[in-house]
Symmetry: D2
Subunit: 181 residues, 4 copies
């Protein structure tokens, strides 16, 4: 007889039903990362933006690194896990020494309430800028990572392509970095 | 026949069972506030600490203003609601113009894992310093609000009295304000 | 015989010659303030921009509140003094409880080196957002204080009117406040 | 005939007399760096403190990395120059991608006015935490760089040894990093 007490190997993961139910009850905590390449003085030279194909419609959208903080997981752990998922194992991200985010992004299910929205849920994301020094090889559903100069990233067309209104978030990151044209 | 579609008047509130279940699934998002009195130049003169009696044991503990962000509620809305709950309607808190917290506090259910812990849940709190200019009259279960000078608040005995390891959080607030002795 | 030891009533003030010489030797420390009006939840509703006539050319330029930190003066003291100089004595500015600026602005004498420049000097400014609750009556050389919504303030024409490239700084303030459209 | 217009090879350097005079006129802008070693998740494991012998008294004092921003020099440039001066050319400091300091430190010439003082001058320092990944070989007058755990660095005896009251600044850095015990 199989034990019903086998420890869950991924305790933070939820079934689709449980996740759906949870999303209707509380805001879901996320982390978001803006990968950057910096010069010797720490000044940002390039910003990484993901290009992702929708599994249902095939439409392409741009996005940032983003993922849920799981039960029992630290904010740093969640940020690193999502960076590795989207940038691959050789990106060598340099997580910031402080856990204070550069901003907090609030996503509401209804569009138009706030600049950011997420049709699936009410989500609150802690957003970080993360310098990466290694090679980035997006895995999973991310098709491509594009490196843009700050001026290219601030192009209104690029910003409008970011899903969920994240153009606003990317602009905030560029501004925080002192390189919003 | 009673309608099953009657809109919930407090949609963010959860039954005890639903809350218990949710707490086992995802980290719960909180806001925490450190009320302060400032002088004409904005320098902190006093820090407010709540004294609260445990409903079960009767033991007194100190704490900060703290509460859950409910589904559909903004971070600012949650902060204001909890400030009013604990300081009364005439405190006139001045919420910060930026939503970026001075720190992010992570509470894990097991003691000893991290400086902060909460036996009920994995909670992640956005922490803010909030100047108040009016009269504070704690309601509900908060028995008393004590105003301490930064030096008094930084006393190891006071810090040790704060529940859940929040002495660490109060020290971070004092340090952020430039008044940790 | 007049005493040569009479204490200087304004010890931080320098003669034109001394200031000129000093400006050629070291970067000059400034504070800059972005006055804002906030709603009950602390969210910014309006941003104050000064309209100033040039004493020499008569041309009108927009600017932020800005002034030198004098010898012996604290950063908070300098910020308050400059707020009072430009907004009058009844503005009731709420200086932030932390001295950490939202950004550091670097002005170089040569245009084009950096987004910000100041033909008179190399200046480094600590920039703060300051909610004001009272009536603002600009004195001295500031002709007018205009209150703009964040959307109006972010208009490229308005931003371009700000002297010394301060449109960049105002954009950073709006972004920090989460209200850059 | 020797040209009197030979460009100064170190335009930011001042003669002792000019520096003395300038120090009596304006606050002098500094940068300060707290070098840290971080783990894979960005969490601080060790903090670097300099041990320096006084050239006049021979007494040993602890200090942080600290130096003046010179005329025409950027804040990032000044921070890097001072890190290289005190940590050597192979420390590989990772300057933060944002120029916003974790705090602003004000030093006044008179002791007792503020926690920090500098008998030579009124100085205002922008303070940064800087992860280093390479080998540190202090040069010049720094005799030794000691790596301390956050708990060791927070020891009151260590903090009291830091010159000019910089124990307060180090405590602020530890608190900002979430590792002040």
């Amino acid at each position: 007889m199989a034990s019903v007490r086998t420890p869950d190997p991924n305790p933070g993961w939820l079934s689709d039903i449980a996740l759906e139910e949870t999303r209707s009850r509380v805001p879901i905590l996320y982390v978001e990362g803006v990968p950057v390449r910096v010069d010797a003085l720490g000044q940002v030279e390039q910003v990484g933006v993901l290009l992702r194909g929708s599994p249902t419609t095939g439409a392409m959208t741009r996005t940032l690194i983003s993922g849920r903080v799981m039960h029992g997981e630290s904010v740093r752990g969640a940020l690193m896990r999502n960076l590795e998922k989207d940038l691959g194992p050789t990106a060598f991200p340099q997580l910031p020494p402080t856990i204070t985010p550069f901003t907090v992004a609030e996503y509401f299910p209804l569009p138009g309430v706030a600049p950011l929205h997420d049709p699936r849920q009410h989500a609150v994301a802690l957003a970080y800028v993360v310098p990466v020094t290694g090679d980035c090889e997006p895995r999973q559903d991310a098709l491509e990572l594009t490196w843009l100069t700050p001026a290219e990233a601030a192009d209104p067309e690029v910003l409008a392509d970011l899903e969920g209104g994240r153009g606003t978030l990317l602009k905030q990151a560029l501004s925080h970095l002192g390189c919003l044209p």
